[in-house]
């Protein structure tokens, strides 16, 4: 799992690693006991069964209560992190993403800037059945779009998610979060890219949405705040100019 480039993704990564280690330790202990029993109590080595070993209240209570305690230990940090993840308050920018079969639409609410984002042409040609194009030769095969989403770094951004036809899900692994885009409903989540981590981040639709589910990538370019503001201003001017010509 990527550690990612946001507060959330690091929290999630941390939780994942805690769980992975706890599970590994439990696995070593229980598998160790199983393997020991399998080796030590083999009939071929002359082991004789002890038919009186039927139950042991103290032992059984122990292996009921100890797991409960471990679970409580797991639950506390997970609940803390969850509360933080679900708190979308204090965001500075709201972007609405709408899932369509099979592309994304982004709107910067309150600015009039809105555009579609589809799979890049070279990926789309290469992914046709028996296209004869080697995917290895295509840049960011299946993970590239014609017009990426642009976001500012160091800013809490509220994402509103919905869909036009069927359920989709918006997911960029480096941002940590994934959430369904459901037709007729609006879901929200927040993302925030570290100020020192501008760059290009890629993801995909994560809910089966029909034949081309595998071909609606998400690309996000994170720019420093000033560069982003300039970009948004340019987009707004272009949108106004376009509206004027119509």
């Amino acid at each position: 799992m990527p550690e990612g480039v946001s507060v959330l993704s690091r929290e999630i990564y941390g939780m994942h690693m805690i769980m992975l280690w706890i599970c590994t330790i439990i696995a070593v202990v229980t598998f160790g006991a199983m393997i020991y029993a399998m080796v030590r109590f083999r009939k071929s080595k002359g082991a004789v069964a002890d038919p009186k070993m039927l139950h042991n209240a103290r032992l059984e209570a122990a292996w009921t209560i100890v797991p409960v305690l471990i679970l409580v230990g797991m639950a506390i940090p997970s609940v803390e992190k969850l509360i933080k993840i679900e708190d979308t308050s204090g965001s500075e920018l709201t972007i609405k993403a709408t899932g369509h079969q099979w592309y994304w639409q982004y709107e910067y609410l309150g600015t009039g800037v809105s555009f579609y984002s589809r799979i890049a042409r070279d990926s789309d040609l290469a992914r046709q059945k028996r296209s004869g194009i080697d995917p290895e030769g295509v840049d960011n095969y299946l993970l590239d779009v014609d017009k990426p989403l642009v976001v500012p770094t160091g800013t809490k951004i509220r994402m509103l998610l919905t869909a036009n036809d069927v359920i989709h899900a918006w997911w960029v692994p480096d941002f940590g979060m994934k959430r369904d885009a459901i037709p007729g409903f609006i879901n929200e989540m927040w993302i925030s890219v570290d100020p020192d981590k501008p760059g290009t981040y890629r993801g995909q639709c994560a809910e089966l949405c029909g034949a081309d589910h595998g071909f609606m990538p998400i690309v996000v370019i994170a720019k420093p705040r000033a560069e982003f503001d300039a970009w948004l201003e340019g987009q707004r001017a272009a949108a106004t100019a376009l509206a004027a010509t119509e």
Partner: protein, 524 residues
């Protein structure tokens, strides 16, 4: 007459040929039909998986188009869940429950036959969808709207097939409950009953509780499709997420419907080959019952990304974590059963031991997914695919194979080819890990599930996984060959078969006579 009472009107045995199988009401015949049907569906579902893994062998689309790929994943799941695993456990229940509790047959033999043929025709209907315009269902086995409403002519056929399967399952479940409650031999109190029968008694209650919910859910899909009822359509005041709640209220107990009988089997087998009674018998029964209860209150952990309120997410994460407790009790009790035992490694034991290790791995990934923040990353990735295949393939399917190797001599009267069975085991156990373990890595690296083509960084592990799939699939040919060989002949099996036995099924000769326990046995 008085002296030859057991040779009266049953003495002629079953009719010969096809008529026997069409008209039989004998629990052993019906059990055999279920098991053969299940094996056929296992191979067919495996074929679908073969197509999926062949397409995913390398990036780019080489073999099928995306729409057909989705039909393959959907039908693979429906066939494996409803056609392979569930009928296999029903077949085992039919064969073994009457013999374990000392009953002459199932309580409702005609209904028993009816539920088999309902299932058979349900699958003919489901498989026929490949030949109608638009092809088979392709919206995933979960049939989420609105996507499922884009299905073509196959839609009503699939829904009716599910209705028929549901009716069949409910009848099967009623039969199990009535048999166990009413037909136990004198002295066979509930808490003396073998754990396989116990696990099925609880499974049967789960089936009766949730199958109607699923039937209701898909009926609402049907009326949305044909009569615009808008249960799941926001434009008409409905909610697509409502379907997911209804589905998973069925779907989560459903996974326990598949795994509880496996728990029962593994308990029997580990005890037999450790030559020691099961450790903590009562705790095992209570653990099954608590897992069954908890299965009703955890469903929304399948849908943490739909945007539930915080309170809902907290409830379902905590209730889900609780399931680890009774499951842990079972794993520890199985280990304690082996402790100070006298263990030997016959094929049934090998499969049960593989179950013990590999199911536990599936349990660990399940626990990780119960943690909501991390689940936001895992959800709908190959990590999930790896998880549920670990609990279902080296979990449920290995337990079923263990049961087949355990009871096959009792069914056929012949010992099977032990060397071949061990080959089958080792090939299956190795390849199943080659197949599914890399899928954990794929999921964590960010590969979504249900995609026919992938970005090039996922290539290596997909290749490994596909090689594992081909190896695992081909290994199953040994299984089929072994069963055919064993049915045809082999060394005669004794009544006890194994050198440590527990349970009434080992008191009757091998093969088990067509009618057993016409006079109820006495249980001390």
């Amino acid at each position: 007459m008085a002296h030859a009472g057991h040779h009266d009107d049953h003495a002629h045995g079953p009719p010969k040929g096809i008529v026997r199988w069409l008209t039989t009401t004998n629990h052993k015949d019906i059990g055999t039909m279920y098991l053969v049907f299940s094996l056929a569906m296992f191979l067919l579902g495996g074929l679908f998986a073969f197509v999926v893994r062949a397409e995913l062998f390398q990036p780019g689309l080489q073999l099928v188009d995306p729409a057909f790929f989705n039909q393959m994943t959907t039908m693979h799941a429906l066939v494996m869940v409803f056609g392979a695993v569930m009928p296999a456990t029903v077949g085992l229940a039919n064969w073994m429950i009457p013999m374990q509790i000392g009953a002459a047959d199932m309580a409702l033999p005609r209904m028993n036959l009816f539920s088999f043929w309902l299932l058979f025709f349900a699958f003919m209907l489901l498989l026929a969808t490949f030949f109608v315009p638009g092809g088979a269902p392709a919206a995933g086995w979960t049939l989420y709207p609105p996507l499922v409403l884009q299905t073509g002519e196959a839609f009503p056929m699939a829904i009716f097939a599910i209705h028929l399967m549901g009716a069949s399952s409910i009848m099967g479940a009623i039969n199990v409950i009535v048999t166990i409650v009413n037909m136990r031999a004198p002295g066979m109190t509930l808490l003396k009953m073998p754990l396989f029968s116990w696990s099925w008694l609880i499974t049967a209650y789960l089936l009766i509780a949730v199958m109607p919910v699923f039937a209701g859910g898909v009926t609402m899909l049907l009326t949305d499709y044909f009569f615009q009822t808008s249960f799941f359509n926001a434009a008409g005041g409905g909610d697509p997420v409502l379907y997911q709640h209804v589905f998973w209220f069925f779907g989560h107990p459903e996974v326990y419907i598949m795994i509880l009988p496996a728990f029962g089997i593994v308990s029997e087998v580990i005890s037999t080959f450790s030559r020691k009674p099961i450790f903590g018998y009562e705790a095992m029964v209570y653990a099954i019952a608590s897992i069954a209860f908890l299965s009703f209150i955890v469903w929304a952990h399948h849908m943490f990304t739909v945007g539930m309120p915080l309170a809902g997410q907290l409830f379902f994460t905590l209730s889900t974590m609780l399931i680890a407790v009774p499951t842990g009790v079972k794993v520890f009790n199985w280990t304690a059963t082996m402790w100070r035992g006298s263990i030997s490694f016959e094929p049934p034991m090998l499969f049960s031991l593989a179950f013990l290790f590999l199911f536990t791995i599936g349990g660990f990934s399940g626990l990780m997914m119960a943690i909501v923040p991390s689940d936001f990353q895992y959800h709908d990735t190959y990590f999930i695919v790896a998880h549920f295949h670990y609990v279902l393939v080296p979990g449920a399917v290995f337990a079923i194979m263990s049961a087949v190797y355990y009871w096959l001599p009792k069914w056929t009267g012949h010992m099977y080819d032990m060397a071949l069975a061990k080959w089958h085991f080792w090939l299956s156990a190795i390849f199943v890990n080659v197949l599914f373990f890399p899928q954990h890595f794929l999921g964590l690296a960010g590969m979504p599930r249900r995609i026919p083509d992938y970005a090039t960084q996922f290539t290596e592990w997909n290749m490994v996984s596909s090689i594992g799939a081909f190896g695992f699939g081909l290994s199953q040919i040994l299984f089929v060959w072994l069963i055919v060989k064993c049915v045809r002949g082999g060394e005669r099996a004794t009544a006890g078969v194994w050198d440590y036995q527990h349970g009434l099924e080992w008191t009757v000769p091998s093969p088990a006579p067509y009618h057993t326990f016409e006079k109820a046995p006495e249980v001390r």
